[in-house]
Assembly symmetry: C2
Homo-oligomer: 285 residues x 2
């Protein structure tokens, strides 16, 4: 499992890397970005995962979210993976839709052909990439948190629910809270998994909570001017599920903010401080 450096740039005293590697989970070459803070020169540092939304690659978060400043101050490594397999032989939505296929892996393992061969982002993000990061980067695998945006907020919360104890803290920006009950989610789940809705529940935050999965707590920011809010995101369903399960949820409705990275960068510092507090950073300064 060798990492190839695609690019490296000094940033806030640390280094912003983009790496490429061969993935056994997806059967493709995969790219991810890693911000390595200056504290990593002396010791392994905690890791915060950021899972991106529809249409994104590893680049959007890396160049737009402005996370490096606080990550450098707090001593956090931040990993941003791609959102789907890509490359020769990887099928895309037959009509080129932005919400299925390339850029829309939905952090699940597809079971239907032709998707099942490469669309295995759950195995990649849950198992393969954490092992690779722990083996090759100065990451303290015992201290991890996870966050994400939109489809990646769905990914962050569902991965945390299915892996109790792995993450010290979980947060999301405008997550898709109930994929089994919104158009984006239903299209993806039907397309990748088929019509058996029982299989869908492992990829729905609200359903996982209803089925007994738990989180230590959850920070969610949601813009009130988000054009996807009413049809796709449904934070009220997450609110109800957390309330019923006794999961501490801090859901902040941010007046006038939309779905863009201008929203994400505004609240990135809050999220990183939230994770750093849970992870016990600043670390080994």
């Amino acid at each position: 499992m060798a990492l190839e450096i695609v690019s490296r740039a000094r940033c806030f005293g640390g280094s912003q890397f983009v790496y490429r590697h061969a993935s056994t989970a997806t059967g493709t070459s995969m790219r991810f970005s890693a911000f390595v803070p200056p504290q990593a020169e002396r010791a392994k540092v905690p890791v915060v995962w950021f899972l991106s939304g529809l249409t994104c690659t590893e680049e959007n978060f890396t160049v737009k979210a402005g996370a490096q400043r606080m990550a450098a101050e707090l001593g956090l490594m931040v990993i941003a993976p791609d959102t789907s397999p890509r490359g020769d032989g990887v099928p895309d939505d037959p009509e080129g839709a932005y919400d299925f296929g390339l850029g829309a892996g939905f952090y699940l393992d597809a079971t239907l052909d032709p998707w099942a061969r490469h669309y295995r982002m759950r195995a990649y993000i849950e198992q393969e990439l954490p092992a690779l990061v722990a083996a090759t980067l100065p990451a303290d695998a015992g201290r991890q948190s996870i966050m994400g945006h939109s489809m990646g907020g769905h990914g962050a919360i569902t991965i945390a629910l299915r892996n109790p104890g792995r993450f010290a803290s979980v947060s999301a920006f405008a997550p898709i809270c109930a994929p089994t009950r919104c158009p984006w989610g239903k299209k993806a789940l039907l397309g990748y998994l088929g019509a058996d809705r029982a299989l869908w529940r492992q990829y729905d935050s609200c359903a996982l909570i209803e089925d007994g999965k738990r989180l230590p707590g959850l920070l969610v920011d949601q813009g009130t001017a988000d054009s996807f809010l009413n049809e796709q995101l449904h934070p009220e369903l997450l609110e109800a599920a957390c309330a019923a399960a006794g999961i501490p949820l801090t859901l902040r409705r941010q007046e006038g903010y939309d779905h863009s990275y201008f929203f994400i960068e505004t609240f990135m510092e809050d999220h990183l401080r939230h994770h750093a507090a849970a992870l016990g950073a600043p670390v080994r300064g």
Copy 2:
């Protein structure tokens, strides 16, 4: 001179706009971005101009530089124009080179055909756009500062030198310090202005200083790992010109940093604080 809103997003309590308008200077439609800080709800705010480098539009700075956070805190409007005219009838480099034509206006008024008709970025940035901003946005035209990156650093410094008293402070990231003496600059000056080198001096920071133009002072950051440093940028020539003229120059050679926005975002806070101090911000909080 009507402004059309291309996009608007809430960001750090202010608003990030992209505007489009018909330009008389360039004879085209032009776009620029404007971050309007929350302080502008109550009174006009100082303006900081950011001029971008080769290949950029107004978007690169706006989504990558992370300037909005400090601009919101300090009460600064930040304007980022495009780097050339664009659209039907605007000629480009015949070979599509990145360093001439579209994306490479070099903040000058071309005199040679076919460039002279539309390539008038000096008139646009020096005269037309400031008047438009002052007339239509909550900008205090009496309090302005200017900065830029690479080709835009050249633009910021030369515009300030040619307009003494207009800007309270001037700064640059990795500026092209002496266009008359580097390949990028010589290609642009020859192509847009012709072979008469006397005409080139008004677009060369070092030459302008040698010819008696003055600045109140200058902050420049330059990465030592910048791949364009030795051939194109020549900060040592600016250093010599400022020393000979008695212009206070703070030139910081930043170890290991390259030419990218990861470099710019790292030092953006320093530059905005520098400008805010000169402008007397935080303003009317």
